[in-house]
Symmetry: C2
DNA sequence: CTACAAGTTAAAGTTAACTTTAAGTCAAGC
DNA sequence: GCTTGACTTAAAGTTAACTTTAACTTGTAG
């Protein structure tokens, strides 16, 4: 078992496609050594870094945010357990916020829709951040960005 | 106060941009009458339909799915409270699934990362649907589609 | 020596949900 | 008669996160 992994091996073991790995490298999320032929070789530690990326995505972080997080890791040594735990410590709040929003929506299904008040103007459940209140063109509205 | 609303009025009252309303109409999610000049006019009931769309999006439905749901409404009369409630009854399960996934991720932050097992191969938290197990090129993988 | 599998790059394509732009119509006010 | 504001359409642009494609290079097996 070699110490360095090919891109195909990393793809198989992480479940992340080779094309995605190249894309991550291009975005600066991961790095690789090169063989004489220009082929990528990954140290075993890369797998954990990739796992972190997948995990963070599930939590809802964008690749830009993940890149920022990864930038906080020490670059003079291989990160250890405490380093990873430190990065993910802030996620709890984010997850809780999202769960709270979903709970609110769930309550709204029976209460808001049930009572017939399904109106964006008045209903705080459908319109918690007073979306209807914004005037002017303003910044581009992204549904995914709102999540 | 007129019985029919212009697109600007509907946009202001719903918080949904005019361009989005036209887009929804193009997608068959909403409909409008036209004046002699070809301008759109909306009956008051359209506001509730639009509110439903916004609400459904927050729950996580795609516009395609919402279109399907809206197709289940009676078309021989204006839908009433019971009709709307019926449509949204199935959302609870969906919301609960998503909440469960988030809870799992939250637990994984302290357990999985904390214990140092952050590995896509072995960890059921980061890899609940055995993502790493899929072989071959397979269908296109969309992060958003997995949510 | 020739196949073949596996790797490389750059550039273009994909998806959802809209927004922006360009070019034009129409009624009302001055 | 002309400007203004609100509206129309069709088509192209935007964003994130990748995938696909095309053209090419390398190491290894036979």
């Amino acid at each position: 078992m070699a110490d360095l992994l090919t891109i195909a091996e990393v793809a198989r073991r992480s479940g992340v496609a080779s094309s995605a790995l190249r894309f991550y490298e291009q975005r600066g999320l991961i790095a690789s050594q090169r063989t004489g032929a220009g082929h990528r070789r990954y140290p075993r530690a890369a797998l954990r870094r990739i796992a972190f990326i997948v995990f963070a995505q599930k939590v809802g972080l964008s690749l830009d945010e993940i890149a920022t997080e990864l930038g906080k890791l020490p670059n003079n040594r291989v990160p250890e357990r405490a380093d990873w735990a430190k990065l993910s410590s802030g996620w709890k709040h984010r997850i809780d916020d999202r769960i709270a929003e979903l709970e609110r929506l769930k309550a709204g299904m029976t209460q808001c829709i049930g009572c017939g008040c399904l109106s964006l103007q008045t209903c705080r459940l459908a319109n918690p951040d007073d979306r209807a209140g914004r005037g002017g063109p303003g910044p581009r509205y992204w549904v995914t960005g709102k999540r």
